[in-house]
């Protein structure tokens, strides 16, 4: 997308809301900005109705800021908490039936390759744990098996947040939750390990407690997906509402997880590593 496409004609400009004018005048399109530049530009995520202290909303905001080319990025989502911030994001955002995101992204990416063979369009799946690990797991894995050139990002709050905090496959073992009245009786689904064995050429596991690293891995994942193959980023986005901690403690909870289940981990294929090294030199 060229900036011209979103620039209003002068006659129309005065009737547009301030947030839109800000986006045209000071948005991130075509400027190569990142998480470190937050505060200096108009973000593509608009105000949203998430709960106070929501880890998912922070995760979405940081991912949006880290997109290497927001002007050519399309986000595919699924119903759930992530929807609330994303539906108000100034990139094309699709959200249809629960769990279908990696199938939708596969079709979309391929069609955009047909229509824009010379202009890479980054198709990014940005979805919660229920969508990726439970109801959509088959489509998640098959998109990786097929080596679709898309980036899959999980914002993992370890519950079905939007429907009342029920157990998800990503909930911690033993956790007592709605629909797990005796405690969850199996471990977190090893989606990160599955990504390694199912065809992802780059993967990273991070939390919202480390925004700069989060931004770096998202950028790498998207650049690698553009050239090499499927990539996966799993972000811990704790949920104060359903996990019953103070909204002020979200970052502390995420930071604590970095010492355990959410210790930073990254993997990449040789081809992905070479590409990342090349992009650093440029």
């Amino acid at each position: 997308m060229s900036k011209r496409i979103i620039t209003p004609t002068p006659a129309l400009a005065e009737y547009l809301p301030q947030q839109y004018k800000d986006l045209v005048e000071n948005g991130p399109h075509g400027r190569g900005l990142g998480v470190r530049d937050l505060g200096s530009f108009k973000e593509i995520v608009e105000e949203h109705p998430h709960c106070a202290g929501c880890g998912v909303s922070l995760g979405v905001r940081l991912v949006a800021a880290a997109l290497p080319a927001p002007e050519d990025t399309l986000i595919v989502g699924t119903p759930g908490c992530s929807f609330f911030a994303l539906s108000q994001t100034a990139v094309n955002y699709s959200n249809t039936a629960f769990g279908n995101q990696n199938a939708v992204a596969s079709g979309l990416k391929r069609m955009l390759q047909i229509r824009y063979p010379d202009r890479p369009k980054d198709v990014v799946v940005l979805v919660g744990d229920g969508g990726i690990a439970d109801i959509g797991l088959d489509m998640t894995l098959h998109s990786w098996f097929r080596r679709e050139k898309i980036t899959t990002i999980m914002v993992d709050n370890e519950v079905y947040g939007n429907t009342g905090g029920q157990e998800s496959g990503m909930s911690a073992e033993g956790k007592v939750l709605p629909m797990a009245p005796r405690g969850k009786n199996f471990p977190k689904i090893p989606v990160f390990d599955l990504a390694k064995s199912s065809g992802c050429v780059y993967g990273a596991r991070v939390t919202v407690a480390n925004p700069v690293r989060l931004g770096q891995v998202v950028e790498k994942a998207i650049l690698v997906a553009r050239e090499v193959g499927p990539t996966y980023v799993q972000i811990y986005t704790p949920c104060p509402t359903n996990m019953r901690f103070s909204p002020a403690e979200t970052i502390d909870v995420a930071r604590a997880a970095q010492k355990g289940t959410y210790a930073f981990e990254e993997f990449m294929s040789e081809e992905a590593e070479a590409l990342i090294a090349k992009s650093r030199r440029e």
Partner: protein, 389 residues
Amino acid sequence: MSRQQIADPQHLLFEAPRHQSFITGSEAVAEAVKRANVDMAIAYPITPQSESMHLVGELYEQGYIKDFYRAENEFAVMAAIHGASLGGGRVFTATSGPGTLRAMEMFPVWAGARQPIVCAFMCRGVSLPPSIQPENIEMGMLLDTGMLMLHAEDGQDFHDMILKGFVVAEQPDVHLPVGVFVDGFFATHTKDRVMLPPADLKLPPYDPRSAPVPTFDMETPPMRVTRDPLLNKSNFISGSANASWHQEILAAAERSRRHLRKCLGGLLEVQNPGAKIMIVASGTAVSQSREALRLLRAEGMEVGLIKIKSIRPFPEAELAEATDHADLIVVPEFNAGGWLGREVKAALDNNRRVISAPRIFGGMSMPPGLIVETIKGAMGTKKRTAAGV
């Protein structure tokens, strides 16, 4: 691949000289797709659809289609087709019976996203008991998904309705998915004479600017589609926005009538219009009804036949007019539920004239004699009722 020229749809569909072929319904699908300038097709194996999508895969190999893959299940197929269509190209897929049901959640999404997807449905029974035999109960389950529904009688219809489906689906004032339905096996696995337009002609490419909603390519503003999620709000504004969107889908289906009349020569077609006994049928039940007409004529009985070509939109007004004079209306169909009978009854005054039978299901072909018996039985009942017996 022979080099294809882009042809005006009017020329390709109606004017270009056709040549006769002797092919199966599945091959007729591939012949239509070959001429439809499809960008992408996605498939999942299910009987009796599989052969048609094998052939579509070969079209990809031959260069007639730009991308093709075998997906993981029917829900994933319909989701990926949705994604591909969002990207602004022309797409095709097909499914059948249990596959249709597995994919069900995506069909209203297609309509809601105003996507001109053409999908062929080779209808078959759904479990339980397990069946791969012909039945079209799935059509009854799809009546209110928002997609347009055309029901082909034979290979010729199937071929033509797929090509015409793209033309109607992509009209700017329609822009809805079109399902082209055929009764599996009877029409998919049997060979029939099909008149084909020249293979070196194809439809013009899909123009995403004909869509009433922005194409999903980050080149078509507005980039942000919603300001506030319509979901999860029960206030007046979000309710109205959601409802008006649905109303517009229904209105678009209404507007398709004009285009369907032009393309199909009418939403229904009448044989022996003056007869007091009318059979109303769709799909292969029309062919069996033609045979019943022949049997009845041999006995000196004049019976008329109304072939319903468009199930959605349903030709209520045309049907009422064509049956206004009729004393008896018989609706034979290939399913246990009798969805066509219900549609017919809902469209007509004095619907006690309508006999929703025979219904054939479980895998048998429809004996024309059964239609004859149903008519005679209903006439006997009428006579006895009139005589006060």
